[in-house]
Structures are given as structure tokens and as C-alpha cells.
Amino acid sequence: MQQFANPARFLKIANAALPYIWSITAILFAIGLYGALVTTPPDYQQGETVRIMYVHVPAAWLGLFIYCLMGFFSAVAFIYRHPLADAAAKTAAPLGAVFCFLALVTGSFWGKPMWGTWWAWGDARLTSMFILLLFYLGYMAVWSSIDEPTRAAAIARIVALVGVVNVFVVKFSVNWWNTLHQPASVIKMGGPSIDKSMLWALLTMAVAYTMLFLALHLVSMRSEIAARKLRQARLIEIGNR
């Protein structure tokens, strides 16, 4: 862990790995999308609309996974005070928010033909995903409203850590709230189990999404490090004047 924390070494490894990660992402997306759109069978109840699942479910998984990852980076930053961990958490947030947003939008596209409505508060997963998006927005707002980077980092760590603990409490309470109201209109998504003929495409898409996130995250961490160097160089220049 510690040896990757040196920004120069991190940049070296990231630059070397990025072409491979991009190619793996492209190959996985090609296989996964072909499987999802062409070879997998349509659902016997949902018909062709089930194909939305292959873009919707991985986005939702990543939305939650990235938030946990952000909490992990923030914990590392809180314990070891390493700026690279702060940069990792900061750059993960917008990506996670976008995946979360994608999950919400594709979910509502799926909901329209299935439930007959764009949005159903009765579905606990939609509701808690929406609240997760709010947590992302709050975290990003902290970074943008505090000017000084070290101070913003210190505050953002705490917001992320408090958020990670609470996001699960929120999810639990929304699930409970949902069972309390027992909506009649909502059909259970996905059914009790998923057939093997569909599962492989879904898993391929999930890995493809994760690789895409990894590539985008490395790129944005690289530009974050560059932005910091630029800022420091400017400060030195002003100081020398």
C-alpha cells in the first residue's frame, strides 16, 4: 500500500497500465454488449425490455461499490494523512455519482414498460439509490465550497466516513419503510433467480463497467495530481516575484 502512495511512482505505474486497462475494457464491453443485446434470450415475462438489466444492474452495483471505495480511501487518508488517498477519494466521487445517475435513469426507463410509471417510490432500491446520489452530491459540494485544498481534504474525509456509516442505515430504513407500505403495483425485479444464459452476460458487463471505472479513475487521478503540481508551481512563481 505505502509503496504505491508515492505520486511519482503511482504516475509511472498508472501510465504503463492504462493502455492495457483501456483495451481490456473495450474487449469486455464488446463481448458483454454482444451477449446482452444479441445472444441472450428475452425474458418470458418481460420480453426484450429485460436487456435494460445489462446496463442498469452493473451501474447500480458500481454506484454503491464506488461509495464504499471512497470511504476506504478517506479512512486511509484519515489514518495516514496521505494526499494521494484524498485525491483518489475526490476523483472517485464524480464517477460514482455518474454511475448512480445512470442506474436511476436506466431504472426509470425499465420502470416505464414494467410498472407503467417512470418512478415508483414503492421500490426501495430506487429510493435508496436516489439518497445515495444525494450523499455523492454533498461530498462533492464540500470539495467545491472550501477553497484551501488541505482543509477541504480534511473536511471531506469526515463527510465521506460519516456518509459511509449512514448510507447503510438509510438503506435499511428505506427497505423497512417500503415493506411497511407494501405497494401493490410493483412487480419484483429480476425474479427469484437469474438463468445461466443471462448471468454470464450480466457478469461480463459488471466486470467491463468496473474496468471502465478503473481506467477513468486513473485518468482523473492523473489530472488531479497535475492540477496540484500546477497550483504549487504557480504559488512558487508568485512567491518569487
Binding site: I131, A141, V142, R157, I158, V165, N166, S173
Partner: protein, 222 residues
Amino acid sequence: MLQQALALITRDIVLARKQGGGLGTAFGFILSVMVLIPLATGPDQILLSKLAPGMMWLALLLSVLLTADRMFQQDFEDGSLDIMAMGKLPFEIVTLAKTIAHWITVSLPLAIITPPLGLLMSLDISQLPILIVSMITGSLALSLLAAIGGAVTAGLRRGGLLVSLLVLPLYVPVLIFGVAASTASLGPSSSTPALIVLCAITLMSLIISPWACAAALKAYLR
């Protein structure tokens, strides 16, 4: 340590009483929300009595939220927090003491005053006791979570909107179980489980909040 903490709580209560404003304004806010809701939904008695517990909770948590951004700001600006941070008392205890003072001066009185206003919204009178109990149970959690927002934005000039964005998602569990406890008495189910979960949420906030407040304020004080 306890004595110092108590002295700090007393100081904050006295300050709040001498300065005034906080509680009275928050109460006025709840009153104006009570007027606006029927104007927005129409005067239908059955609809209003159905909406009443949820709307009372919403009014309570929004009014507590409005007082959040001033919780640490004043002491931060005049330097009192610097002195408290340098003292022997652990800084987590300092933030906890200030939060408890906020609870005593703002959240608790509001939690007691708000439920009777539900009668304006044709709240079922049999629901009144349980609404008061659940609001008192949840009010400490409201103060603790608001303190996190207040601490995170203590050094910012315009922190109000940021506080809302950060704290409102944290209020979701309190709102859900608070309303569930208040409405359970209408149906066949008991309101005890929801009240117990509400206590659990309060206890969890009691662990997280002082730590988070202290860490955030220290980032500003450095």
C-alpha cells in the same frame, strides 16, 4: 471532566437565553409551515389529518436544520473554540457538550411545542401522546446530526445550503422511524419497535457525531 462539561453546557444555555432569537424564530418557522401546508393541499380535513404526523415531523426537522449552521460558527469566529481546543477537556467532549446545549435550548422545546400544533391540521387527538414521545426521542438525534453539518461548515461564510445538502440525507432514518412510531397507533401494530429503532439511531449518532464534529472543527482551527 464532568464539571467542566456541565459548565460548558450552562454557558451555552445562558448565552442562548440572553441572545434569544434561535428558539423563537424556529417556532415562528414551524407556525408558518403549518399555515402553508393547508394552503398548498386544500382544506380537506381527512387528507390533512392523514398528512399531519409526517408534516409535523418535516416541520420539526427543517426548523432544527435552520439553526445548525450557527451552532459552532459564533464560537469559531470570536476565538472561544480555540481556547476550548487548547484546554484539558477532550475536544470530543466539548463538541458533545455544545450539542447537548443545543438540544436543551432548541430541539427539545420544539419537540414538545410542535405536536399540539398538529391540532391545526386536524390531527387525531389520540395520536398526540405518541407523537410527543417519538419527537422527544428523535430530537437528540436531530441535534447530533445537525451538529455534524454545523461543524463541517463552521468556517464557511455561506454554509446554509451546504448544511441542508449534507444533513437532510442523514435525517432520512429519523424521519422514517419517527413518522412510523407516530402513525402506528392508528393501525393494529404497536409503535414500540419503531421507537426502539429510533433510540438505536440516536445512540449511533451519539457515537459518530462528537468525533466527526471534533475532527471537522480541528481542520478549521489549525
